[in-house]
């Protein structure tokens, strides 16, 4: 993604995002809150528990603008950005 240019310093979007599969319950909150559509919900193959049917996946971490909304909204503390939860 192209950097956002300012006077002399650039904000470069993108982050390393890790989602703890065991904690994620696929509630969709991170998908809804992310202004850059970094997350998508995918079906867990072979999952029989209806509460764990889906999980969130960071499909476009290079678009992350480090607003940390996903960390704030995740009730299960399942999201890590650059190792920081």
């Amino acid at each position: 993604m192209e950097a956002i240019k300012t006077n002399s310093v650039e904000f470069i979007p993108g982050a390393t995002i890790t989602i703890d599969d065991d904690r994620c319950i696929g509630c969709r909150k991170c998908v809804e809150v992310c202004p850059e559509d970094v997350y998508e919900l995918v079906r867990r193959p072979g999952e029989t528990d209806p509460n764990k049917e889906f999980k969130s996946v960071a499909v476009a971490p290079e678009k992350c603008i480090l607003c940390l909304s996903c960390l704030e909204i995740c009730a299960k503390d399942a999201i890590y950005i650059d190792g920081q939860q």
């Binding site: 956002i4 300012t6 006077n7 002399s8 310093v9 650039e10 904000f11 470069i12 979007p13 982050a15 809804e32 809150v33 992310c34 202004p35 850059e36 603008i65 480090l66 607003c67 940390l68 909304s69 960390l71 704030e72 909204i73 950005i81 650059d82 190792g83 920081q84």
Partner: protein
């Protein structure tokens, strides 16, 4: 016209920050000592940054409030094996884009600037309200800051631009009277509970040239400050020595009970 400042003139502290730290920590019984902040403007980056090149840099991204929490000794978010007392942060080190933007490293990412992000978080009923509120958060011009030096006050390598004092409401209350002791007046506080450590405690006191209080913010409490009873005061560095002096002077003022009964 004066020539460029010498290294010694730039970095040699004018005040005894170790003594000032010991005095305020003892008087207020603070759990952690205050934190000093020194901002290096982009305009003079080359000249200033070399004076701080031997100080620790974080080994990964962290938020501004995590850097503050690290140097004061509450935690170590620097990813360095040993917790540093001084940290030098550049734009690439910030994990929180809003904090970096408030401090003047770069412009806010568009979805935060235009209000969309906070609208999506259901914080406002409309994008317009969200945008206006965002614009009113104290911030420096994008690209105006090159580095920020965050340090434990007793280890101050330079006179800080801002001193951050953290404590419970009773401890912060103890700063209010001494702050206006010589001039009189009242404190007008610039606060919203958004961008607490970066905008409210660091940028606001610098822009308005006066102490500001903050209840911190959701981000700071989520990422760093784990004690819910803590709040903070951002004091311009130039005013801090007098604040401590006034704080100590109030030890010797008469108590109300010492006055004649008709004046109590």
């Amino acid at each position: 016209m004066a020539g460029p400042l010498l290294k010694e003139q730039l970095i040699k502290p004018k005040y005894d920050w170790k003594k000032l730290t010991d005095q305020i920590v003892e008087k207020l019984e603070l759990k952690y000592e205050p934190v000093g902040i020194y901002l290096i403007p982009a305009k003079h980056a080359e000249r200033y940054e070399k004076f701080f090149e031997n100080f620790a840099k974080p080994n990964g991204r962290l938020t501004y409030c995590q850097a503050v929490d690290t140097v004061r000794g509450a935690a170590n978010y620097s990813k360095l094996p040993e917790r540093p007392d001084v940290l030098v942060l550049k734009a690439k080190d910030f994990l929180c884009s809003a904090g970096a933007a408030n401090l003047g490293f770069y412009d806010l990412p568009e979805p935060i600037k235009n209000g969309e992000r906070d609208f999506l978080l259901r914080r406002f009923p409309s994008i317009e309200t969200s945008k206006v509120t965002r614009e009113m958060i104290p911030h420096f011009e994008a690209g105006s800051t090159s580095s920020v030096v965050v340090f434990k006050l007793s280890k101050a390598p330079v006179d800080p631009h801002i001193v951050l004092v953290f404590g419970n409401p009773a401890q912060i209350l103890s700063l209010e009277g001494p702050y206006v002791m010589k001039r009189g007046g009242r404190l007008e506080i610039d606060v919203l509970g958004t961008c607490g450590v970066c905008a409210e405690m660091t940028v606001s006191p610098l822009l308005n040239r006066k102490m500001n209080l903050s209840t911190l913010c959701g981000g700071a409490r989520s990422h760093a400050f784990k004690d819910p009873t803590e709040m903070g005061a951002g004091v311009p560095g130039i005013e801090f020595p007098e604040l401590v002096e006034n704080l100590l002077a109030r030890q010797n003022i008469p108590k109300r009970q010492d006055l004649p009964k008709e004046l109590q």
